[in-house]
Symmetry: C2
Subunit: 204 residues, 2 copies
DNA sequence: CGCTGTTTTAACTATATGGTTAAACCGTAC
DNA sequence: GTACGGTTTAACCATATAGTTAAAACAGCG
């Protein structure tokens, strides 16, 4: 058996992450998570009380991989805005590549339970006024564009970065004829494609 | 009771569409679909055999809303390519606005069962070689760009069109402070933002 | 060692779920 | 009216599921 309480919690969380992210809340089974963790199912309840509480932790953690660091990059004061956008794109694509299933997981679960899941995330400390500040006072000001244009910019970057991953099964099948190497090549080009596209809109 | 077999099938399909698209395969309950349809649950099995078969029909139908018409628009021979891209973007955004939950549904379900769901769609008649033809022989040729660039273009258009909808709960909360009117205003601007962005990359 | 608190286990529970069954009902044709 | 095939219903069923329970096992301390 594991050495201590914190190890068991960790083992459970790791297993839950794997299972929830691929199966979603409804599709995941507590026994499956227990099997993945190599523990007795009753421990899930002992440590986390319920399936939903366990899911909440995994969901918040998943969200937390994507948003806070974006604030840090765009909010930093010692880099030129164009460079910040570049680093942001680079960073974003890298995070997605390291966690390719998380965007689909978030999108799918949000569709099923938008209200509560958004609250889970906001509760976790997401500072929405900080986001607005970054968009209005940093992006818009430094790029000399309107707040709304800055919003569009952020959404465009995220959209262009995320989409190939969330639609991967389809793109591979339909456009790349199940050729994974070609798809991977396509993905490796995304950074420069996005930079060019976004770059022209910033400089225009 | 309904008048005939075809009415009962229709009523079931409509109810199943509503429930599956919001709850997904695992989250939807057969009793819930029966309640939504106002029929006895056993009829679901009588007409459609199983939950999965019913889901398959709904999934294929949902996919069918998004892809075939894109081929028609881009494949038509009597419009200038730039106009075709414009009509494509316009059409795509309109379809999404009319079916705002479908993209999230597709993305979420694909994450859970990529192999089989992709097959469901391909089985339904999606002509992947026709897609390649459109990308290579129409888009790439007419725009005088490489096949790979044409692929990026299609993915960019879809990404920019779809993303605000799949991330709506979050965007509304984080960027628009739950102001639905502002979000709707933002969405209404997407067409022109996307056209400008894509337009500059086409003409560059 | 005994005690206490914590962790883990195996068995159990109440309820839900997708699916089945048999009979009742309906519409049509003779 | 009867017979027949198709549709619908209410009850039922086998299994799965999240969660509970009580006891065993463990760890640390005096």
């Amino acid at each position: 058996m594991t050495n201590s309480k914190s190890d068991t919690e960790k083992v459970i969380l790791e297993a839950a992450r794997k299972v929830f992210i691929r199966k979603g809340l409804d599709g995941a089974r507590m026994q499956e998570i227990a099997d993945e963790a190599g523990i007795n199912k009753a421990l899930l309840h002992y440590y986390f009380r319920s399936k939903e509480k366990l899911f909440k932790m995994v969901f918040r953690e998943a969200m937390g991989k994507f948003f806070p660091s974006m604030l840090m990059i765009l909010g930093s004061q010692d880099i030129a805005i164009e460079k910040k956008v570049e680093v942001f794109i680079e960073h974003y694509i890298r995070i997605i590549q390291e966690n390719p299933f998380i965007p689909s997981f978030i999108i799918g679960e949000l569709n099923k339970n938008p209200g509560q899941l958004t609250e889970f995330f906001v509760e976790s400390g997401m500072d929405t006024s900080r986001v607005s500040f970054i968009i209005e006072e940093v992006l818009a000001k430094e790029l000399k564009i309107s707040t709304q244009q800055a919003r569009h910019l952020v959404v465009n970057i995220i959209a262009l970065s995320v989409f190939p991953f969330v639609s991967r099964p389809l793109l591979e099948k339909i456009i790349f004829h199940s050729n994974k190497d070609e798809f991977d090549q396509f993905v490796s080009e995304r950074k420069s494609v996005i930079m060019n596209l976004i770059g022209t809109s910033i400089y225009r």
